[in-house]
């Protein structure tokens, strides 16, 4: 257990509304990630962070923004939700630092439905 929690666990929202998902970790890991998981696509990286205020885009970043003002929290925001963003969102941390073995551990996921 890498001490990762996600909130909310389930959310239903309407098209055009803003949505923020929160990932919280308790073990001070530097690297944090947001993925979405859809049938037939596996896990796709949205954004990741390599430190406080340091973030970078993944392969499916359009329509999403992130923020990391504290080591323990990584927020994912959908500025104006669309039905194509209906998905299960997973947060993950990496236990590595430079030169160490990279291993990822995942949170329990947030199921988001955009109507």
């Amino acid at each position: 257990d890498a001490g990762i929690t996600q909130s909310p666990r389930h959310k239903v929202t309407e098209t055009g509304t803003p949505v923020t998902l929160r990932c919280h970790q308790t073990e001070n890991h530097r690297y944090m990630y947001w993925y979405r998981q859809d049938p037939g696509h596996g896990l796709r990286l949205i954004h990741y962070s390599y430190g406080v205020k340091d973030t970078d885009k993944g392969e499916v970043s359009d329509g999403y923004s992130v923020s990391r003002s504290k080591t323990e929290d990584f927020l994912l925001t959908l500025e104006s939700a669309t039905s194509s963003q209906t998905s299960v969102y997973f947060c993950a941390i990496s236990t590595s630092s430079t030169g160490d073995l990279n291993e990822q551990f995942f949170g329990p996921g947030t199921r988001l439905t955009v109507l």
Partner: protein, 113 residues
């Protein structure tokens, strides 16, 4: 673009049978991880392989990393219903100091009692 292809996509077998899942790429990875995911939960890390040719065993599960570090396999001996789940491989796609992982599309395994 680094890609990982998993095969088969779906597998339904009887309890007690053996099976192998493959994870292939044209890219070299510094390490590769295998996860199992159950419905409604996040992926759970099973193993990380690092060295080309490495073999790791986890009870009835045997993981192998290809000599060229481009492919990996997961072999399950005498499968049990508790092995049912989605199996994912992920390659460490680190470039220029970033820590990105490339995931395969998964193999959905169902073991029938």
């Amino acid at each position: 673009t680094q890609l990982l292809e998993q095969s088969p996509q779906f597998l339904s077998i009887q309890e007690g049978e053996n099976l192998t899942v493959y994870c292939n790429s044209s890219s070299v990875f510094s390490s590769l991880q295998w996860y199992r995911q159950e419905p409604g939960e996040g992926p759970v890390l099973l193993v990380t392989v690092v060295t080309g040719g490495e073999v790791k065993k986890l009870k009835r599960l045997t993981f192998q990393f290809g000599d060229a570090r481009k492919d990996s396999s997961l072999h399950i001996t005498a499968a049990q219903p508790g092995d049912t789940g989605l199996y994912l491989c992920a390659g460490d796609g680190t470039t220029s100091g970033t820590y990105k992982y490339i995931f395969g599309t998964g193999t959905r395994l169902k073991v029938l009692a």
